[in-house]
Symmetry: C2
Subunit: 345 residues, 2 copies
């Protein structure tokens, strides 16, 4: 009954490797570039986006080691596609092509592998990207935890885009596309076996459509920074942006949307939602005069319905994130120190 | 004394993650794209290669799980850079940019990590590529075997390149850039603790320079296929090319260069060098009239000194690899079946 498990020979590069590629990857990721099955995918830049050839590429990578592999709202495959699509999107790129590198543990069930591969295919289709090249390695039992996935991605950056972590300026407005902590608290409660009356669900989602809407709506040059607050949470992302831009960031605590169930789980476990990972949210820092338009654009998008203006950039306390609490107190918030939860993504 | 080990918090996305990035990756991979430290690297296609903008990209990925991490002739870091550089090169691309995704096991020694990162930096420099974006995950002790590395790579494909696995034609000549089996037998003898009088050494090397020499020397359209015979060895690669091109390939066994030490180790362990992995060799299939020139070009390059013409493409037995032995017998050779040695790369 070895037919339904990953064997070491699936990673040999020989016959079984080829069978695996045909049975899962070629079948589900079906696209002309992948079907060439050469050592690398050759991708055509003409006509891929506009009449003129692109001048700038975005290139990004992430490995995914999340545990459990399947969770409410997603799985490691959906996460692996969304994460890299989102990283590309945060530079203002149109994500087009992904690679997928699998590290499989001997004994992994082929049914689980297929479920993950199908999830990647569905998510890639939803995001409008193609998985064009890949690799599979198998390690002996005990040398990995079932499956790790790396995705890298390539996107095209329109000529007029100038978005970067060092472009926040005093008086800019900080927007958040929705509630925080959903992904991290979903994983944590799954791992701890906690039950809540209103079930938690990961926010895992591809954000390239939301970014495209913002770029289509806002005048060139007014969208200064984009980041997806994943590991380390919203606070770590905002501290990074403050440091990179040598500006202060002030956030109104009461303006940051947090679901009741997430807030409850955080209180129970002694965590600050500001430090909990998200996988389907973005922070946008925009010129003040475009803040209302940016908010309206976000709210009109399926992944931005609960968007909010949460604060602004200041000339005071450069490099620092300051939180104004509901009671009017101000406290400096640092990046996440220590490890809150391993293998969140 | 935790200062010298990887902790779970190094993968948190917070403070220790930032320290790790600064201490190892920014320092050793130093380049302007990486220094932006945004979610993706933004890469300039203008002036990266020629006066005109490129029309075609090559994109490839591989994960590396080799055991042991360090071996004569290389280590997992050198392998991770060479492997992806070589995959890109086999499509005729000029490799330019790499991503690096690290999966680290809690407890990995920082000294080993640094040794690996330095090896990647040195190899990237030698190959003329930049490591422009990356990611680090940490998993709990026992959930991975010390370190796994994924690299993905992007290269630019000159307009006049038409190299693919399905372009071998009857009468084409098959060239091999040097001896086979060196990498695989080095890893295997290290793992088995075998000693030989003449020590084995991995052939791990970046082949982009050798490919550039071939492209500069051979008339456009005469270099039909390029492959690096890694996992599965020379035989698996040639069977793939025969199948993809629907042509037969005949190889003269005595023409295939194999070092004495590799031959001896293979005999001892009951292996066929034709199925043993290489990490610094390529197979080129060229139009017959250019074979002599291709051989001369290879031999003039540091990674092609022992290049040889090993066979030809035939109209007979399409999809099959036939070996002519020294005694004049002919036998069909298949791709590797089963697993010869896990974690060879």
């Amino acid at each position: 009954m070895n037919d339904d498990k990953i064997l070491l020979a699936h990673g040999s590069g020989g016959k079984l490797s080829h069978d695996l590629v045909d049975r899962f990857f070629v079948r589900h990721f079906d696209n002309p570039s992948l079907l060439q099955l050469d050592d690398s995918a050759v991708l055509d830049l003409t006509g891929s986006q506009s009449a003129t050839l692109p001048r700038k590429l975005a290139f990004s990578t992430d490995s995914y080691v999340v545990s459990p592999l399947f969770f409410p709202g997603g799985d490691i495959g959906k996460l692996a596609v969304c994460g890299t699509v989102n990283d590309l999107s945060m530079s203002g790129a149109h994500p087009l092509w992904l690679s997928a590198g699998f590290i499989l543990e001997e004994g992994l069930s082929l049914a689980e592998l297929e479920r993950i591969v199908v999830s990647m295919a569905v998510t890639a289709k939803k995001a409008g990207v193609q998985i064009v090249t890949g690799d599979t390695k198998v390690v002996d039992r005990g040398s990995a935890d079932r499956i790790f996935i790396n995705t890298a991605g390539v996107g095209l950056v329109p000529d007029d885009i100038e978005i970067a972590g060092d472009r926040a300026r005093p008086d800019d407005v900080v927007l958040l596309s929705g509630t925080i902590g959903d992904h991290g608290m979903t994983i944590m409660t799954q791992r701890e076996g906690l039950q809540f009356s209103s079930p938690l669900q990961s926010d895992c989602a591809p954000l390239n459509g939301l970014v495209a809407s913002l770029l289509a709506t806002l005048p060139p040059g007014t969208l200064h920074c984009l980041r997806d607050p994943t590991r380390g949470g919203l606070a770590t992302t905002l501290v990074e942006l403050a440091e990179r831009s040598a500006a202060g960031i002030e956030v109104e605590e009461s303006a940051v949307p947090v679901r009741e169930a997430v807030r409850g789980a955080c209180e129970l476990l002694g965590l600050d939602p500001l430090h909990v990972a998200n996988e389907g949210k973005l922070v946008a820092i925009v010129a003040a005069e475009e803040a209302a338009r940016a908010l309206e654009t976000m709210r009109a998008h399926e992944y931005g319905r609960e968007a909010a203006i949460i604060g602004q950039v200041t000339a005071a306390h450069p490099g620092r994130l300051v939180l104004r609490t509901a009671l009017g107190a101000r406290r400096i918030v640092d990046m996440l120190v220590g490890e809150q939860l391993p293998r969140i993504c």
